[in-house]
């Protein structure tokens, strides 16, 4: 899935001469955490301001009425200038990696320097939940397999033979690097046949089958 499909297109922006006060009001009114700072008709990005930047610029609550004139300073005085951006054709996976590596909460989406949209951690999380199939009614089957080529295909074939529709598949690393865990979400309320068939082929199914083990 690409970013273009999940980004928000209505982006609230400010220009760099806007007072910090305006940024505070926007964040509060629309319950958002980031405002791209732009210039020109193409909305070229020159900076970004977050709720954290505002907080850093705000006085302690014990002095909340002092130096109010500071909020009339332009946003350019506190904005971050090195803005990491995404491209509309980036994959969701790439963007999740950017969030993961840079510890940031939002990415403006640009093409040829023009601001087209914005994507936040929350959007990505929602999308990942959907990609994992966790929002659809399904049973969840985990199979422990050796870490070698072709295991996923072998197991998938068992599902195929039993005509069971797979909603999603994840491949997890196991604690022991010789193994991997395959996680299937399947569209059935009665997974007994498929579990039996997988076990019959000699694979280990992780499922709450014995009291007190593997919960």
């Amino acid at each position: 899935m690409i970013i273009e499909e999940i980004m928000k297109r209505d982006v609230l922006t400010l220009t760099e001469d806007a007072p910090i006060k305006d940024a505070m009001l926007l964040l509060d009114k629309y319950r958002i955490r980031h405002i791209p700072i732009v210039e020109g008709p193409n909305k070229r990005i020159v900076g970004i301001i977050s709720d954290r930047d505002i907080r850093d610029a705000s006085p302690s609550i014990f002095h909340s009425t002092e130096h109010l004139e500071d909020f009339l300073k332009p946003v350019s005085s506190i904005m971050q200038r090195n803005v990491i951006t995404a491209h509309p054709l980036d994959f969701v996976e790439e963007v999740s990696t950017i969030f993961y590596e840079h510890n940031i909460g939002c990415l403006p989406v640009t093409e040829d320097d023009e601001l087209l949209g914005i994507i936040t951690e929350t959007d990505v999380l929602h999308t990942l939940v959907e990609l994992m199939g966790a929002h659809q009614p399904s049973s969840h089957i985990e199979v422990k397999v050796q870490n070698k080529t072709g295991m996923l295909a072998s197991i998938a074939n068992i599902f195929k033979e039993l005509h069971i529709n797979i909603t999603s598949v994840l491949v997890y690393p196991s604690k022991n690097p010789e193994y991997k865990i395959l996680v299937f979400r399947v569209q059935t309320m009665d997974p007994r046949r498929i579990i039996h068939a997988i076990e019959k082929e000699g694979y280990e199914v992780i499922w709450p089958k014995q009291p007190g083990i593997n919960l």
Binding site: H163, N165, Q187, T188, M189, P191, P208, P211, G212, L215
Partner: protein, 393 residues
């Protein structure tokens, strides 16, 4: 004359049958009916036939396109591609002849029960053919086509203007009903189920609490695999009592899936008949205390259809009609003689389970503690609201 309770049943409801090997088998209804008859606990005067639900009634919840697809499926006119859009050619809900009529009769049965109770014809009503809580607006799921409980709740809202508390003790999360009323503050849903970590449908986490105006009116209690009677009963009793006091419903609808029993082949909970005696007992008591007795009970899951379902469902009726003394008698021999030849399972001779049927669970204490933590989280919002109300005085 006001009846104490009415029993809605017709053998026509056995037509809700996907195929020979499907685990959802409404022969369960016949086994339960016959057990109650054999125990002389059910008279002709206490029974009513279910009616068919009309298309308009189905549309209270379902999309017209979905209803059309079910109709076509029942006539063998639905293409595979179309069927899969509506969740209709899956292993769980394959198409079968006249499925629309069969499914509408189950919805109609629940509406018959609703009308009996809401018009004052009867204090309580039991329709074991209902409780198909996985059905979605436009999609069949988890053995369920039309969602009789969602339709009944919307019907009660519109026709009688009453507030409904829905209690779901099926081992699977009551997802269809929850999502139908997720943003509605006039319907409160409480579902107690095995955690969706592995089990279908995977939803029903404690953090699902409703949205918008309905926030706080969806309550989920996912309990750990291998939970036993005492812990199940504790979380059920605590949650039900606090929720009913907070929500103050006009009527209670209980979904009585009986698949949390240790014998059930699809789930991993360890309840026994002790739980299934307690569930209707508390519902009965609270319905009288808060709703002038207005209590509608429907069936649901339950896949050990010989040893568990007939007893667990009969107990609901015995509770509704105050015939609990029958539980001290053995299971009637006439019932055993009629049905034992049909199954390889050994039919139980007592209404109660011997505690020895539950295996020793080494992590019992941890499971109980985990469930108590979940209970606290599930009730956190309600307890907070109560404190706020108390403060305002």
């Amino acid at each position: 004359m006001t009846h104490e309770a009415l029993f809605i049943y017709s053998d026509k409801q056995l037509t809700y049958r996907f195929n020979e090997s499907h685990p959802f088998n409404h022969q369960r209804l016949q086994l339960t009916y016959d057990l109650l008859k054999s125990a002389q606990a059910l008279s002709k005067e206490q029974m009513i036939e279910p009616r068919m639900a009309t298309d308009e009634e189905l549309e209270l919840v379902h999309d017209p396109a979905f209803i059309d697809a079910v109709k076509q499926g029942g006539k063998g006119e639905l293409s595979d591609g179309m069927a899969s859009n509506f969740g209709l050619n899956t292993e769980d809900t394959p198409v079968f002849p006249n499925m629309h009529e069969a499914a509408s009769l189950l919805v109609g049965g629940t509406l018959t029960a609703v009308d009996a109770v809401m018009t004052g014809k009867s204090q309580h009503a039991l329709h074991l053919g209902g409780g198909l809580h996985h059905g979605f607006k436009g999609r069949a799921s988890g053995f369920c086509i039309y969602n009789d409980s969602s339709i009944a709740i919307e019907y009660i809202k519109q026709k009688y203007g009453a507030k409904v508390l829905y209690i779901d003790t099926d081992a699977h999360h009551g997802d269809g009903v929850q999502w139908a009323f997720y943003d509605d503050p006039n319907v409160c849903t409480l579902s107690i189920h095995e955690t969706g970590r592995y089990l279908f449908p995977g939803t029903g986490s404690v953090g699902e609490k409703g949205s918008g105006k309905g926030y706080g009116f969806s309550i989920n209690l996912p309990i750990d695999a291998f939970t036993e009677d005492d812990s199940f009963i504790h979380v059920y009793e605590t949650a039900f009592k606090e929720v009913v006091e907070f929500f103050k419903p006009d009527v209670i609808l209980t979904q009585n899936g009986v698949d949390a029993h240790h014998y059930d082949p699809l789930t991993h909970l360890c309840s026994s008949m002790k739980t299934y005696e307690f569930i209707p007992k508390l519902a009965h008591e609270l319905a009288h205390h808060y709703c002038e007795g207005k209590w509608i009970a429907v069936g649901g899951g339950g896949y050990d259809m010989w040893r568990v379902v007939p007893r667990a469902w009969s107990v609901i009726w015995l509770e509704m009609t105050n015939q609990q003394h029958i539980l001290d008698d053995p299971i009637p021999t006439s019932w055993l003689e009629r049905w034992q030849p049909e199954t390889t399972d050994e039919l139980p001779t007592s209404w109660h389970d011997d505690p020895s049927i539950i295996p020793n669970i080494p992590r019992k204490l941890e499971i109980t503690e985990k469930n108590n933590k979940t209970l606290e989280k599930a009730l956190y919002h309600i307890r907070n609201e109560k404190k706020n109300i108390a403060k305002k005085g």
